[in-house]
């Protein structure tokens, strides 16, 4: 079969070099964030800090006003979690019905969602913005949750519909014979079965919502509910190239998502690559 030759070993070594070069930006990120204000101006950008200074991180975590990073973090968590819950709920219900129905309307609706995935949001942003403003939803966490849910629902429905189509109806039929109502069937039997799809939806949609900047900037910028990317944007804007502080906040903003990624990397990659294997 496959033999591990010297050539393979060389290939492995070269790829490790490639990976390290590829991740070089992280070296700059970490070393610069640990430099003091003085050192960041005077020392070479390539050199590591002489004595690590964690003061930058302290400043980042205690920033106030529009630059309040901790508040941004909390808001991001709330909005992302809220969106995921709503997406899972509505997406699974809709996807299930579409997948289980064979009538004409379900195919039409299916294509409706397919097109909606590709349709860029830029054109709808301004009217949505005006509508949200009229309803007083700009600057509110609920408004953003509703907005994100609406934006990502086609994707969630798509994933669920696809999943359900591949799921045989044996369990549901057995439950019907046992006399369960349709609602019971869905919540007792189907819900647990759809956890792979739920995992994928949670990861993909969660990542998009967590990293979103443009929509959050327009709807929440300056308010008490602004998310982490916006807080970071304002904070860095007020820093005017104090790279050590800028990178401190960049690191702080990256930690949650990187921690989650390293914890669940397999699921992340599988979700992306489309293989819903276990």
């Amino acid at each position: 079969m496959f033999r591990y030759t010297k050539l393979t070993g060389l290939r492995e070594f070269l790829f490790w070099i490639a990976a390290l070069v590829f991740l070089l930006p992280f070296y700059f990120l970490v070393t610069t964030s640990l430099k003091s204000d003085r050192e960041v101006i005077t020392s070479s950008t390539l050199a590591p800090p002489t004595a690590p200074d964690f003061g930058n991180f302290l400043k980042v975590l205690t920033a106030t006003g529009n630059s309040n990073v901790v508040m941004g973090l909390v808001n991001s968590i709330i909005i992302t979690a809220g969106s995921i819950v709503l997406l899972v709920l509505l997406g699974s219900l809709t996807g299930y019905v579409i997948a289980r129905s064979t009538r004409r309307w379900s195919r039409v609706v299916y294509y409706l969602f397919l097109v909606a995935i590709v349709l860029p949001t830029q054109l709808g942003t301004v009217p949505l913005y005006i509508g949200a403003r009229a309803l007083g939803l700009t600057g509110s966490a609920w408004g953003m949750i509703i907005l994100y849910t609406g934006m990502l629902l086609p994707l969630a429905i798509f994933l669920y519909a696809g999943f359900f189509r591949g799921l045989g109806t044996e369990y549901e039929e057995a439950a019907t014979i046992d006399g369960a109502s349709r609602t019971q069937i869905f919540f007792r039997i189907v819900l647990p079965l759809m956890s792979p799809a739920t995992g994928t939806v949670a990861i993909l949609a969660g990542l998009i919502v967590w990293n979103d900047f443009f929509t959050s900037l327009i709807f929440l910028g300056g308010s008490a509910n602004q998310t982490l990317p916006v807080a970071m944007y304002y904070y860095i804007g007020s820093l005017v190239s104090a790279w050590n502080q800028i990178f401190a906040i960049v690191i702080v903003s990256m930690i949650p998502i990187l921690a989650f990624y390293l914890f669940a990397q397999k699921r992340f990659i599988q979700g992306f690559a489309g293989g819903l294997k276990g």
Partner: protein
Amino acid sequence: MAPQRVTRIAGLLALPVTAALVLSGCSGSGSGDSGGDAESFTFTFATSNNLESPYETLAKEYMAANPGVTITSNPTPNDKYGETIRTQLQAGNASDVIITAPGAGDARGLIPLAQAGFFEPLGDTATSLVPTGSDTLFEIDGKTYGQPLDFTIGAVVASMGTAGMNGITSWPTTMDDFYAECGKLAGDGKSMLALAGAAAPNAGLTAQGIAATRVYASDPNFNTERAEGKTTFAQSKGWADTLQTIIDLKDKGCFQAGAEGGGFDAITNGLAQGTSVGSFIPSGSAVEIAAAAPAEADFKVQPFPPAAGGKPFVLASSNYAASINAKSQKKDAAKKFLDWLATPDAQEKFYEASGLLPISEYKNLDLSNTIYSEVVDDISNGSYTTLPSNVWPNPAVYDALSTGVQGLLTGQSSIDQVLQNMDAAWGN
């Protein structure tokens, strides 16, 4: 996948969701909400560096004088200021007190924003501070929407200490002298001027500072004539000269290396560390930077040399105003703050912190020992004009000028193109 996985996910999500429900019920509509205290409010102003802004100093003074009041400051980058406050105002998320510019010619100009209903009308204290002849820049239908804060002189802020250390004993008064000094400094890896080419406000201010001598010295009514359609930017030899001067300054090494890409930090660091002698920055910034520079820096506001045969001319006007967000929940607290800003005591403090001349008292001050000593005569004999962008009809004209300057520095645009763009932006 087992049901345990579902429960785990559900469990993980349940807590934040509950928190969301609870918090969104409790939280306010988010108009820059700074807490339940009725006396506390939020304050947005522009910043070009990391030094303590004079507005921050004023906020601290106010808080010291009024215990129980908390002002949350939101320093906002100068080169994105207009777009940031507009975005926030439109969504209803802006701070309670916002620093704006008079007129309509800048993205942060208060007139269009007031017309859109974003600002609260202010009282008589504010109206009394509006300089005579500038009503249209601060008021609509007799209601004032911005309280003037300053009298700013716009010319070159130069460190005479740095100049002295490089063999420049007196400020050049002709362009030939100026270019000669540029050449000497460039040879040593230094520059006469620091320019933040990538920052629109500085590119624009540099052009306006030079235009004072090339356009308004001989034709002080240019703006009115342009508004009446009697002339255009493209036809103006003065404006063409101004832009040509910028190109000449670059070619003769008067700007620092990499000026076209420079940010505000190039100015702050250049002036504080003595690698550049001067820069076209608001006189107020000089005091901020002086705090970061050694004492020998000795900053002075110097007039830019006029063209051959011309006379010195500077920019001088009130360029900063304080406005109150119409959607603010803290209008009373904000108004109290603005009233305090109008007091001579506060103006004195603002002058000390920023170097910007106090709006009402400046005529009474003896400026001979201050950074303004070199331009005192120009002010007293009227050799100055209002900052043009305050008076222009919309922000697109100033935007065309600023990006035009950047384009000239990088070679992307020609002088004719820039002037045509400015005319096109003026509209009819």
